[in-house]
Symmetry: D2
Subunit: 392 residues, 4 copies
C-alpha cells in the first residue's frame, strides 16, 4: 500500500500549515459580502474584539492581510527608525532571519547568537543592554519553529523594559498553543498568526502594538503608510465606523472569527493542555525509540513542535518521503541551518491531539527503520501511550 503524492496525505502533522478546524473550514465557505456592507463591518469589529480578548490586550490587535511574515516585515519597517540601534536575538533560523529585515531599516544591528538548539539567556540580554545603552529595539523569536525551541520572552521582556528599549516578539507559532501574551512579555509589537495554533489556514497575521510602540511608530517619518507594509494604516480599521485602507481578506476574516470562537469556547487553558500533552507524549516516544530531541534541554522544547535530532547517517529528506508514501503522514523538514539535521512534528490547533503522538512516532520511527536507522519503534509507542495515560 502506497500513498501517492498526487493525493492529499492521510495525516498532516507538520509544523504548519496544518489543517484548519472543521468550523473554520466551514466559515471560509461563507457568503462573501462587500467589505463596506454594514454586516461585514460588524463581523470585522467583532473578530477584532474577540482577538483582543484571546490575546488579552488593551486594544484590539491589528489584523493584517498576509501571513505572519507580512506582520514581521511591517513591524521592522514601521518600528525601526533609520538611526536606531537594534539588538537581534538569534537562537534559530527565524530569529536570525529577522535580523536581515532589521538591518534594512536600522542604523546598526547587534546580535546575540547562540547555537540553534539553545536559547538566549535573559541575563545575557541584560548584560548586553547595560553595555549598549544606545539599543532602542530588541527583537526576539519566542518559538523558533525550525528548531522547536523556546526563548523565555517574558524574562527577556523584563530586562528590555528595564533598559527602556522596545521588544519585538515573533510569537507566530507559540501563541494560542501555550501560555503567552503580549502583556506578559511587555512587548512593543507582538506578532502572531492564526495559521498555527489557532487552526486557520495561512493568510492573515495578528499584531499587538503597545502604546509606547505606537508612539515610536508615529514619530518615525519612514514608517510606511499607504502601503502593504504599514501598521499605521490599520490602527483604527477594526472599528465598524472606520474605513479599511484596502480590501480585507473577507473569507479569511470569517475563518478567523470562527477560530476565535472555538478557542474562547474550548477555553485557552484546555487548548494549551492539549498541545502540552501531545508534545510531551511525542518527546517521550522519541527518546524511548533511542533518539533525542533537537532542543538542548527539555525546558526549552516547545509544546507546539517536537524537533527530532537526526542520528548519524539518517537521511531526513528520505525519511520524510517514506513517512508520506508508506503511512500517508506528512512531517516537516528543518529549514536553512537545521535542514537535514532534524525532522519536525507539529502540534498545532487540530493536530494537537495526544493520540497523534502515536501516529507521529509510528510514522517517523517506521520510516527511519525502513531507511536503515536503528530505532525501537515499539518502545516509542509504549512511552508515548504511557505519557498520555499518566495524564489521565
Amino acid at each position: 500500500m502506497r500513498y501517492p503524492k498526487e493525493s492529499p496525505p492521510a495525516f498532516t502533522l507538520t509544523s504548519g500549515p496544518v489543517d484548519a478546524y472543521p468550523e473554520v473550514l466551514r466559515a471560509l465557505a461563507s457568503t462573501v459580502i462587500y467589505d463596506y456592507d454594514p454586516a461585514f463591518q460588524l463581523v470585522y469589529e467583532k473578530a477584532a474584539l474577540k482577538a483582543q480578548k484571546a490575546m488579552a490586550t488593551p486594544e484590539p490587535p491589528l489584523i493584517l492581510h498576509g501571513e505572519p511574515v507580512l506582520a514581521l516585515e511591517a513591524t521592522a519597517a514601521s518600528l525601526i527608525a533609520k538611526d536606531d540601534c537594534v539588538l537581534n536575538l538569534a537562537s534559530g533560523v527565524y530569529g536570525k532571519g529577522f535580523g536581515y529585515w532589521a538591518a534594512r531599516y536600522a542604523a546598526k544591528v547587534e546580535e546575540i547568537e547562540v547555537p540553534y538548539d539553545e536559547c538566549v539567556e535573559p541575563e545575557a540580554v541584560q548584560a548586553f543592554l547595560k553595555d549598549h545603552p544606545e539599543i532602542k529595539v530588541v527583537a526576539a523569536c519566542h518559538h523558533d519553529t525550525p528548531s522547536g525551541t523556546l526563548n523565555d520572552v517574558d524574562a527577556i521582556g523584563e530586562v528590555v523594559a528595564e533598559a527602556g528599549a522596545l521588544l519585538i516578539v515573533d510569537a507566530v507559532s507559540s501563541w494560542g498553543g501555550m501560555r503567552t501574551t503580549p502583556g506578559a512579555c511587555r512587548a512593543g509589537v507582538y506578532v502572531t498568526g492564526p495559521n498555527k495554533c489557532l487552526g486557520c489556514p495561512p493568510a492573515l497575521s495578528l499584531a499587538a502594538v503597545s502604546s509606547e510602540a505606537w508612539d515610536k511608530i508615529d514619530s518615525n517619518p519612514d514608517a510606511p503608510t499607504a502601503s502593504m507594509l504599514s501598521l499605521t494604516d490599520w490602527r483604527h480599521a477594526w472599528k465598524s465606523t472606520e474605513p479599511f485602507p484596502f480590501t480585507p481578506s473577507v473569507s479569511e476574516v470569517n475563518g478567523l472569527d470562527a477560530a476565535l470562537d472555538r478557542y474562547l469556547n474550548e477555553g485557552p487553558e484546555r487548548v494549551w493542555a492539549r498541545h502540552d500533552l501531545t508534545a510531551a507524549a511525542c518527546r517521550d516516544g522519541v527518546r524511548a525509540m533511542g533518539l533525542d530531541i533537537w532542543p538542548a534541554r527539555e525546558e526549552i522544547a516547545s509544546p507546539t513542535t517536537t524537533a527530532v535530532k537526526m542520528p548519524q547517517g539518517a537521511d531526513a529528506a528520505k525519511i520524510i518521503a517514506v513517512a508520506r508514501t508508506r503511512y500517508g503522514v506528512m512531517l516537516s523538514a528543518g529549514r536553512g541551518d537545521t535542514e537535514g539535521k532534524l525532522i519536525r512534528i507539529g502540534h498545532m490547533g487540530p493536530s494537537a491531539q495526544p493520540m497523534y503522538a502515536l501516529i507521529a512516532i509510528a510514522a517517523l520511527g517506521g520510516a527511519m527503520a525502513a531507511t536503515g536507522v536503528d530505532v525501537d519503534v515499539g518502545s516509542g509507542l509504549v512511552a508515548a501511550q504511557s505519557r498520555i495515560d499518566a495524564s489521565g
Copy 2:
C-alpha cells in the same frame, strides 16, 4: 419589512468584493495541506498553469498573496528604478492613486490627467511620449472602478511599445469580465485579481510580467527581494520543484483553482457575454429612469461596473442606505473624488447575471424615489428587460 444591518444583505451588487461562485466557496473549505506537501505543490503548479491559460501568457503569471493592491505596490517597487521617469495616466481615482506609489520609487512622475468621467486618449499618450523620450515606464488603469470607465489599454500599449517604454496595466476589475489580456496590450506588468470578475474572495493577486519587464526588474538594484513587496521572489515559485518564499495562502489558492476551472469550463467568451449583457441592461435601465451614467460616453463604460451619475440634490450615501434597508440590495458608493457623485452597480463573476439588472434598477430607482429624487423606475425596468430580451 426592513433588512437589518446586522444580517448579510439579500443581494450584493457592488463593484467588489462580490460573492464568490459556489464552487469557489466550497473549494475554500478544502482540507488545508502543508505547503511543502507534494500534493499541494502540484495544486499550486496546476493553478498557475490554468491562470496562464486563462490569461494567455507565455509563462504562468505570479500568484501574489495579498489582494491586488499588493501586486500594484510590488510592481511600482520592483519595476520603477530610482532614476526612472514615469508617465502616469490618471482618468480616475485608482489611476491617480498609482501615481503616488510611482512617485515613491521614481526620479520623476509626469501625469496625463483627464476628468474622471473621461478616458486618456492613446494619441495624447503618443504625443506626450514623443515630447518626453526619457519616459521609461507608463502606468494605466484599464477599468478605473470608482468611475466605471475604461481606458483603451490595447491602443495605449501600442504607442508605449513604439516609444520603447514599459506599460504597467491595472486590470484588476476588468480582466475576466471582458476581452483583455496582457498580450493584447503588450503590458510589461499586468495586474489583476481573482476577487473581481473571476468570482473569488479578496486575498490574492495575479501579475503577468513580460520578459522585458523581468529584465528591467533584474537590473533594478532596489527591486525588493525577501519582502512581501517582491515580485522576484515568486518568479519560479509556481513550479512544484521550487520553494515558496513564504507560506502561500493555501485555501485561497484552492479557491483560485476552482475559479479558474469554472472560467475555463464556462468559456471566457460566454463569461464576457454575461458581463456585457448585464451592464448593457443596466445602462439602458438607468437612462430610461431619467438618469445618466457617469462615463462621458457609452463606449468607455465598463461591462463590469455601471456607474450612475447622481442628479442634482441626490444624496448617494442615503440612497445606498435605503436600498440596503428596504430591498436588501447592497450597492457601492464612489471613492475619493467620485464619492457622492455616483453610485456603482457591479457586474462581476456571480453578479454578472442579466436578471440582476432588474434588481439593481429597482433598488436604485426605488431608493432614489424614496429619498425624493424624481425617477421613472417602471420605464427603467422595462428598458432593462427589453435589452435582455433583444439579446435572445
Copy 3:
C-alpha cells in the same frame, strides 16, 4: 446568451426544492459523527427542542428521515385503523392524493372534492361530519402546492374537533412561511418538511402528533413498528438517552438544526412577512401583466407559492423551458390535473425575497411573450415594484 441545461440555473424560483440557506449548506458539510456519540445525541435533542419551539407544540415533533411524503404515508399507516371511516378533503392534487393512502388503510374513505382552484369550506366539512358521525379521521391539505391554494385548516380543525374526529394536516409547504401551527388547527397529526419554507434540502419531515392521536395510534394494532413507516418507533428518540430505531440522517439533522436557528433568530413574524410580501408583489405583477392567478380568490392564494393561470394557447412546458434557457430562471410546472394549466413561482425560505418577484415576473412574462402570449411585462414589473414600495 443561453443558459445551458447542463449547468445549474442562475435562479431557482420553484415551489420546492428551493436552494437552502447558506448557513444550512455549511451545516450540511459538518463532520459526520456517530449517531450514538454523546455529542450527536445532544445535537439531535437540541434540534428536536428547537423544532418544538418553532412549531409551538407541547412536546418535540418527530423528525422522520425521509422527505415529507414519508411522514404523510406513515401517518396514514399509523393513525388510520382498518375499521375507520375517513373524510378526505380534496381541493388539489396533493389533497386528492392523500385519499389513496387513506384508502389503503381505512374501511371507507369519503371525500369532499372541490375544483382545484377552490378551497374546502369549513361549513361543508361541518355539515358532512354532522351527517356522518362515523367519521373518525379527517385529512386536509393546508397548502395544496400544485394549485397554490390554501384551505382554512384552523376553522376546519374547529369543526373536526367539535365532531370528535382527528385531523391530519399536510402543512408541508405552508409551515414556516406563514402563521400556522399544529395547535391553531387542533391537528391530530400535523406534517411539515424542512425542505420548503425552512430552507433545508429535501430529506426529512417533521410530524407533530397530539396526545389524542398517540392514543389512537397506540390502540391501532396495525400501526407500523420496526418499519420506515412507523411513527411510534420515533416517539421518544429525540431524547439523548433513548436509542434511535435506525440510523438518523446525521448531516440532514445538522442542516435542520442550523435552519431552526436561523428561523428562530430571524423571527417567525419577520420570516412570514418576507414570504407574504414576495407573494403579494408577484400576484400584483401577474395581474398587471394581463394574466390571472390560478386560485379563484385572492384570499385563498398561498404566500408561499404563486400559481399563474395559463391563458388560452399558452404552452406551460415551453414557457418554463424558455425561462430557464433565456433567463436562467427555473420555475415549476403544475402537477397532475394542474399540469399545463398553470406555472408556479415559489416563495420559500431563501427565495422568499421580495425582489425575486421582479425576476419571476420578468422571466415568466418574457418567456410568455417569446412564445407568442400577449403580456405586458413592463406593467407587471411596475406593479410588483409598487407593491414592494408600498410596504416600506
Copy 4:
C-alpha cells in the same frame, strides 16, 4: 485532559456512521437545485451510472432515499409474496433481524441460525434447499456488522441459484470496502449503503435488482407502489427523462456523486487494500494485547469492522465511555445479542487508514487497562505497526 461529551470526538472509529470524505462533505454543501431542473436530472443520471460502474451491474442500481434499512424493508415488502417460503440465514443480529421483516410478508420463514461468532456454511444452505424445494427466497447478510463476521455470499449465491431461488443480500457494510458485487453472488436484490465504506453520511441506500427479481416483484400483487417502501417506483427514475416518484434527497445525491467519483478515481482495489490492511493491523494488535477477536476464525473476520471479544469481567460500555473521555476516540458497542460481549472498531471509508489501527489499539487497550482489564497495550501497538510495516 478530558474530552467533554458535548463536543465532537477527536476520532470516530465506529462501525458507522463514520465521518464522510472531505470531498463528500463539500459536495453536501452544493447549491440545492430543483429536482426537475434539467441540470439536476443529469446529476442524478450520472450518479446512477457511476453507481452502476462501481457495483458492476447491468443496469443502474436504485438509489433509495433513506438509509439502508429502507432498502432492506422495501426489498422484503417487494420481493416476498404472501405465499412464499423464505429461508433466512442468521449468523448475527442483522441477519436475524431480516427474518422479522420477511415474516411480515411471507407465508413461512425457515431459518438457519448459527452462533453469532460463526458464519452460515454454503453446504448447510445447499442441504436445506435440497430438503425444502418450496423455498423461493433466501436472505443472507454479507457482513453482520454487530458481529464483525462475514458470510460467504458468493458461495451461498451459487447454491441458491442452483436451487432456483432468489437471494437477497445485505451488503450494507461490506460493499465498497472489499471485493464483493451483486454479480459475484448472483443476488436477486443486493442492498448496500453509501454511508459505510463509500464515505457518505447516512441517508441513502443502493439496491441492485436482477432481472429475475424484477420479474418476481412485477408478479407480486402486493409489491408496494406509490409508497416509500416501493422498489418499483424508482426503477426508471435514474433516467433524466423520467419523473421521480417523490422528491429525491438532492444534497445527499450530490454527496453520493462525489463519493463515487472518489471511489472510482482512487481505484476500488486500492480502496479495498486500505480497508484490509487497517483491519489486519487491528486484529494483530488486538491479539498481541492478549485479547481475541469476536469472530470464531480469522477467515470470517470482516475487513471493514474489527469486533473485539470482551474478556471475563470487562465492562464494554464503561470501556467505550473511557476511550471517548480520555482519548477522544469513539468506538462502537455491540447490538442486541452482542451488546456487552464485544466492542467494534470500524474501518470504513475515511477511517480505513492503517495508522488508525494504532489509535484504536491505544484507545481500546488504554481504556481497558484503566477499567482494570489486564492487557498489554504496548505489545498491541508493536504488533499493529509490524503488520503495517510488513505490507510495505
